[in-house]
Each structure stands twice: as structure tokens, then as C-alpha cells.
């Protein structure tokens, strides 16, 4: 494969070479079960303990035992929500948002069929929540609030610290899906009222298939998987030792690069935004630009379609992703774009560029050069576009018969 320019780090990241090297011995030498009483596993337990401390340090957990290793972000989300319901059978309501990741949304829709009531907080055109609406919903029937820290498509940050305080004051458990936030913005959970938090290794240069559920000490809890005593019985199943150890190192590195992420990575993102807005007419940033992850740019190119843009970008070795219907098997346009009321001629052309510390500024300049001709080429094909500008009153000039 040619090197290419990878700007799809919110989808997944490259595993750091150092992380891979750290993991290798745990496949072939120290492969023993950490529970076993022999030399093949005697270093594993210690290395896992170090990893747990590294995760703890990155998220600022008070106790090492608050870290529960899981198989992915999705499992952490499911565990948190189902645990809250099981542990508090007299409470049957959930509060979440319309823009959550499917890991939370699909589960909530499924729970609704089982008779639970789910309140979905709406967002405004910039993807922001209405905290007054939220306050009114908190009540004695609320089993759990689950709010993402950062949105995976737009990078928009939700005020989870404040929302956790409000939940706590109302006696309600608070979970946050921080899969996109961990490693990109600093956090200190011991100073917050967050009870549970999900994170996923593959978003921060650790392998896929490893996640963490942070479980604040004293939080009522029911395991999702029962069996062996691993993770103190909170998540049974022989530990994915190599990945846990890899995740530990990745967290340590993320902590060391936190400053870099929020200065240099952010600078690349900002330069791309500025360059594209300047070079391409009829495009705009979606989400809340003043309040978002340092690595994410979501930009909607009007009157063209995202999959077509991605295919042409890919031809030049540039990887990004889109909120267009056509890139997902479901044919549904992105629920995040729809929730923000982005017109469909723009929502379909929304492209997410997401950076990591492995990107360099030269790549940004290359992308700024590559994008404008692609958009121009596709607009030439678009019935909403004519002679270098949108057709006047596009909705009226081109009003197709829909099936």
C-alpha cells in the first residue's frame, strides 16, 4: 500500500509501533494466563497492573480498581446502561441525546421495545443541547443519563461535567461515552460527578478490540458477562492481556502528547479548515466550531454527495469519511446531520477530516490543493449547480419526482 494521507482518525487509528513492540512478548513468551501459578504468566499480572495505572493516570481516576477492561467501547456502553437498569429495577427511564453513537442509540431503541422509556435530548443547528430541557427530565424514575463527551462526526463537546453535577444533585447515575474524547482532551475524573465512562483503545493508537469501563467507586453495578473472577468479577473472561498492556502504553503516550494534541494537531486542523473555506465556495463547518475536539473538522460541501467526494479523494490517497447516506449500508443520511437540521443537499456532502499526532502540516497543504478540483468536478455533474454557482433557488429549479 502506498503511504497516503490518513485523516480518518475518529474512525480508527494506527497502532503506534512502540505499542506493538510492547505487546509482542505477551503473545509468544509471556503468554500464560495471568491467573496461573507458573513462570509463563508471572510477568503478565504485573504488566497489567502497570497498564491499569497508566489508564487511570490518563483519565484521572482516583483508584486503580475503578478501571475495568472490556472488549471495546460498545461493550463498555452496553455494560454501563444495562447495569444501571438491572441495579435499580424501580427506575425505568433513560436520558440520552439524539446524536449518540449507535453503540448507545441502538441499545436504547432496543430497550424501548422492552418497555423502558428513553428521553432523547435534541440539539440545535450547531449540535448543542438545551440544559433546561435536560433538568426537567431528571427525576426519581431516571435510571441513568448517558451523554457522549465528544461527538464522533462533528467533534462537538457536550458539557458533561455540568450535566453530571446536575444528575448527581437529582440522585441520578451518570454515564458518558468518551470514546472520542479520551486522549484528545485532558480529563480528571476524580474531580467530577461522572459515575461511569467508556473508552476504546483503537481511537488512541492502541489495538482494536480493547476498551475500558471506568466505574467510580461506590457506583451500584451489575456485570454484563458473568463467569470467572477476572476484573474482580465485574467482567468475566480471560483478559486480553497483550491488548491491555498495549492500551496502557498508548494511554501513557497520549497523556504525554496532550499538549501537542491541543496545539500542533489543532493547528493542522485549523489550517485545513481555513484553507478549504477559502478555496471552495458554498461550504461550511458543521457542529459547534468554538467547542469541539482539537482534531476534528466536519465540513459540508453543498450540492455534491459525500461518497463521490471520498472516492475521488481516495484515488489521490487521501482518507476521510462522510455523513452521507450512501457510505453506510443503511441508506440513512447521518442522524447527526439530520438532528442539526442541515439541509439534505449539504448533509449528503458532509466530510469529516480527523487528525492524529502522526499527521504533518505538509499533508494539510496537499489536501487543501486536492479538494477544490474534486468539488468542482462533482458540481459540474450536479443538477443543483450551473455555471460555477448554485442554480438560483435550487429547490425550485430542480424539483425531481421522488420515489
Amino acid at each position: 500500500m502506498t503511504k497516503g494521507i490518513y485523516l480518518d482518525n475518529n474512525a480508527t487509528t494506527m497502532v503506534d509501533k512502540q505499542v506493538v513492540d510492547e505487546m509482542i512478548p505477551y503473545f509468544t513468551e509471556q503468554f500464560g494466563n495471568p491467573s496461573s501459578m507458573h513462570q509463563f504468566g508471572d510477568k503478565v499480572g504485573r504488566a497489567m497492573k502497570t497498564a491499569r495505572a497508566q489508564v487511570q493516570a490518563l483519565i484521572g481516576a482516583e483508584h486503580e480498581s475503578e478501571i475495568v477492561f472490556t472488549s471495546c467501547g460498545t461493550e463498555s456502553d452496553s455494560t454501563a446502561i444495562l447495569s444501571a437498569l438491572k441495579a435499580q429495577p424501580q427506575r425505568n427511564e433513560i436520558i440520552t441525546t439524539v446524536v449518540e453513537h449507535p453503540a448507545v442509540l441502538s441499545l436504547c431503541e432496543f430497550l424501548e421495545k422492552d418497555g423502558y422509556t428513553v428521553h432523547y435530548l435534541k440539539v440545535d443547528k450547531k449540535g448543542r443541547l438545551d440544559l433546561e430541557e435536560y433538568k426537567k427530565l431528571l427525576g426519581p424514575k431516571t435510571a441513568i443519563v448517558s451523554i457522549m463527551w465528544a461527538n464522533n462526526e462533528t467533534g462537538t463537546l457536550f458539557p458533561v461535567l455540568e450535566m453530571a453535577e446536575l444528575a448527581h444533585a437529582a440522585g441520578v447515575m451518570f454515564h458518558t461515552d468518551a470514546v472520542q474524547a479520551v486522549g484528545k482532551i485532558p480529563m480528571d475524573l476524580k474531580k467530577t460527578k461522572i459515575d461511569m465512562l467508556s473508552l476504546s483503545g483503537h481511537k488512541l493508537h492502541a489495538p482494536k478490540g480493547i476498551g475500558v469501563l471506568y466505574l467510580k467507586r461506590g457506583t451500584r453495578y451489575r456485570p454484563l458477562l458473568r463467569g470467572g473472577h477476572q476484573e474482580r468479577g465485574r467482567r468475566a473472561g480471560t483478559e486480553n492481556a497483550a491488548s491491555i498492556i498495549g492500551l496502557g502504553l498508548a494511554c501513557d503516550m497520549a497523556k504525554k502528547h496532550m499538549e501537542y494534541e491541543n496545539s500542533c494537531v489543532k493547528a493542522m486542523r485549523d489550517r485545513l479548515e481555513e484553507g478549504l473555506l477559502e478555496a471552495v465556495p458554498n461550504c461550511f463547518v458543521t457542529g459547534d466550531p468554538d467547542n469541539r475536539l482539537p482534531n476534528t473538522l466536519n465540513i459540508a460541501f453543498e450540492f455534491v454527495e459525500g461518497e463521490a467526494i471520498l472516492m475521488l479523494l481516495n484515488k489521490q490517497g487521501i482518507a476521510a469519511s462522510s455523513g452521507s447516506a450512501c457510505t453506510s449500508g443503511s441508506l440513512e443520511p447521518s442522524h447527526v446531520m439530520r438532528a442539526m437540521d442541515i439541509p439534505f443537499t449539504a448533509a449528503h456532502g458532509s466530510i469529516r477530516f480527523s487528525f492524529s499526532r502522526y499527521n504533518v502540516m505538509d499533508e494539510v497543504e496537499e489536501v487543501i490543493k486536492a479538494v477544490p478540483p474534486i468539488i468542482e468536478k462533482l458540481r459540474k455533474l450536479s443538477p443543483y449547480w450551473s455555471n460555477g454557482a448554485p442554480v438560483e433557488n435550487p429547490e425550485a429549479a430542480f424539483a425531481p419526482t421522488y420515489s
Binding site: A308, C326, P333, S382, P383, F398
Partner: protein, 296 residues
């Protein structure tokens, strides 16, 4: 990433006849609400002969929508309006060497644009007669409308029956939940409740005699296979294809798919369906393979 054929990629990267014709005398504007794609087809028709002399397209849509539009313009040029109208969406998909099942609606949009443009030329009003539902079964490309209609028409009660009649749910099982929801909805229309425990009773007339294990003669086996293929054939012919039994070698059944089915994305799915039916009929495991794979 979608697994697009080389032809789809070629028509996407190098679209033919892009842009509106300046001297067009027929225009068709259509869209597919399910994915927000839209297409304007412009034609230049010779009023004497009704031959399409030139065609142009403008598309707001994904890679396969652009490729389908480009293919359509190539296919209609030089044809009379009536000849062009005979082009089915499957023809467009075949021209492109197949489309992923989720993307077949792009070819449907092409065919509809053509109908709309011809109606426009003839001064008629074009009304869309086709309803597109959410894709439920991705393995066999069956949508919700098709499943609902089949449930109503045949008073189906179980997921197994739906699979039997439409193929939906016959492969990976991921859509069983979706099919159950549709059953619940449709059965509720007549005040019935969907019961997942309903025993699988396919229409008594259709219930097959229990197969006597293994004791079929070679001729009996082949006759039975022939019979299954004869039963399935009308369905395949309806999709403008055909199927023919070529040979039976122990557990391998070789068939020849022709017409619209050969080389189409759905060929593998079709063979899977045929295989399932033969297995049910013979009560033994067999493999259905394209005749080209038979060792010479």
C-alpha cells in the same frame, strides 16, 4: 468501501455525457428519497424517427448513482424511444457488471429518469408506480415493501414462511428481528398478534412428504432436482434470466444461469436459494455450482 466493479469505477471516474444538453427536447427529473440521490436526464430526440440522438445527465449522488446515469446515457443513444423504454434497471446494472444490492436503487433511478424523459417528450404526465422500501435482507436484496406485500398476499405468520416465500432472512439471520417487526405490524392490521412460537406450518398442500433418507435412485434424484429447478424457473425468468440443469455428480449439482442472471451480483444469491430448495427436497446436503466450474 463498496465493492464496485471496474465498469462502475470507470463510469464514475470518467462519466460519459455529463452535463445538460443545450438542445434537448426531453427532460426527466427524478430522485430517490431513500438516499437523497437525484438525476436530471436530458435527451435530444429526432421528431421524425423518435431516435435518441444525444443524451446528457446531471446527478447529485454517490459513485454508483453517477455511474448508473452515465451508463444509461450510453445505452439509450441511437435507440428509438420505444427501444429505450425496454431497458430495465437490471439491464443498467448488468451493463455496469453488477451493483451491490444496497445500490440497486441507483439503477432504478436511471430507468425512472428515462421513463420521465419520454413522458415529458410525449407531453404526458409521468407518475411513479414503484414504491421503494427500506432494505431488510441484504443477502438477497429484499425490501420492506416486498415483505409486507408477500405477508398480506399469502397470510404468512412466521419468519420461516417469509424466508420461504421471499428468500429474506434465509442466509445470515441478521434481519430476523426486522422481519418479526414487519410481521407484528402487518398481523396487527387484522387484529392478530405475532407469535414467535407459531409452529412452522407451510400451507398443507405444500407440505412435502417426509423424505425417505438416502434411498433415492440416481434417476429419482435427478428427477427431483429437475422438478425443483422447474419450480424456481418462473421466478428467475421474471427477472429476465434463465436456469438449466447441466449435470449431477454425486453431491455437486451443476447449473447454467443465462440472461440477466449470468454475471450479475445476484447470481451467487440465486444459486444459494436453489441449493437450499434442493437440499430440502432431497433431504441431503448438495452443492449447487455454476456449470463453468465443472471439471472438463
Amino acid at each position: 468501501m463498496w465493492d464496485y466493479s471496474e465498469t462502475v469505477k470507470d463510469h464514475f471516474y470518467n462519466p460519459r455525457n455529463a452535463g445538460a444538453l443545450d438542445d434537448a427536447n426531453a427532460t426527466g427529473d427524478v430522485g430517490s428519497i431513500s438516499c437523497g440521490d437525484a438525476l436530471r436526464l436530458t435527451l435530444k430526440v429526432d421528431p421524425e424517427t423518435e431516435i435518441i440522438q444525444d443524451a446528457g445527465f446531471q446527478t447529485f449522488g454517490c459513485g454508483s448513482a453517477i455511474a448508473s446515469s452515465s451508463a444509461l446515457t450510453e445505452m439509450v443513444k441511437g435507440k428509438t424511444l420505444d427501444e429505450a423504454l425496454a431497458i430495465s434497471n437490471q439491464d443498467i446494472a448488468d451493463f455496469l457488471e453488477g451493483l451491490p444490492p444496497e445500490k440497486m436503487h441507483c439503477s432504478v433511478m436511471g430507468r425512472e429518469a428515462l421513463q420521465a424523459a419520454v413522458a415529458n417528450y410525449r407531453g404526458e404526465e409521468w407518475a411513479d408506480d414503484h414504491e421503494e422500501g427500506a432494505l431488510i435482507c441484504k443477502c438477497f436484496a429484499v425490501d420492506a415493501v416486498m415483505i409486507e406485500d408477500t405477508i398480506r398476499a399469502n397470510s404468512l405468520k412466521t419468519v420461516e414462511q417469509v424466508t420461504h416465500y421471499t428468500k429474506a432472512g434465509g442466509s445470515c439471520s441478521s434481519c430476523h428481528e426486522g422481519i418479526e417487526e414487519i410481521l407484528t405490524k402487518v398481523l396487527a392490521e387484522t387484529g392478530e398478534a405475532f407469535d414467535p412460537e407459531t409452529p412452522i406450518t407451510i400451507d398443507p398442500a405444500e407440505v412435502k412428504p417426509a423424505v425417505k433418507k438416502g434411498k433415492l435412485t440416481t434417476v429419482q434424484r435427478i428427477l427431483k432436482i429437475e422438478q425443483v429447478i422447474a419450480e424456481i424457473r418462473p421466478q428467475i425468468q421474471a427477472d429476465r434470466g434463465d436456469i438449466e440443469l447441466v449435470d449431477v455428480e454425486d453431491k455437486k449439482v451443476y447449473v447454467k444461469l443465462t440472461g440477466a442472471c449470468s454475471g450479475c451480483q445476484m447470481a451467487t444469491a440465486t444459486l444459494g436459494g436453489v441449493q437450499q430448495r434442493i437440499i430440502e427436497e432431497l433431504g441431503e446436503f448438495i452443492q449447487v455450482l455454476p456449470a463453468e466450474l465443472q471439471a472438463a
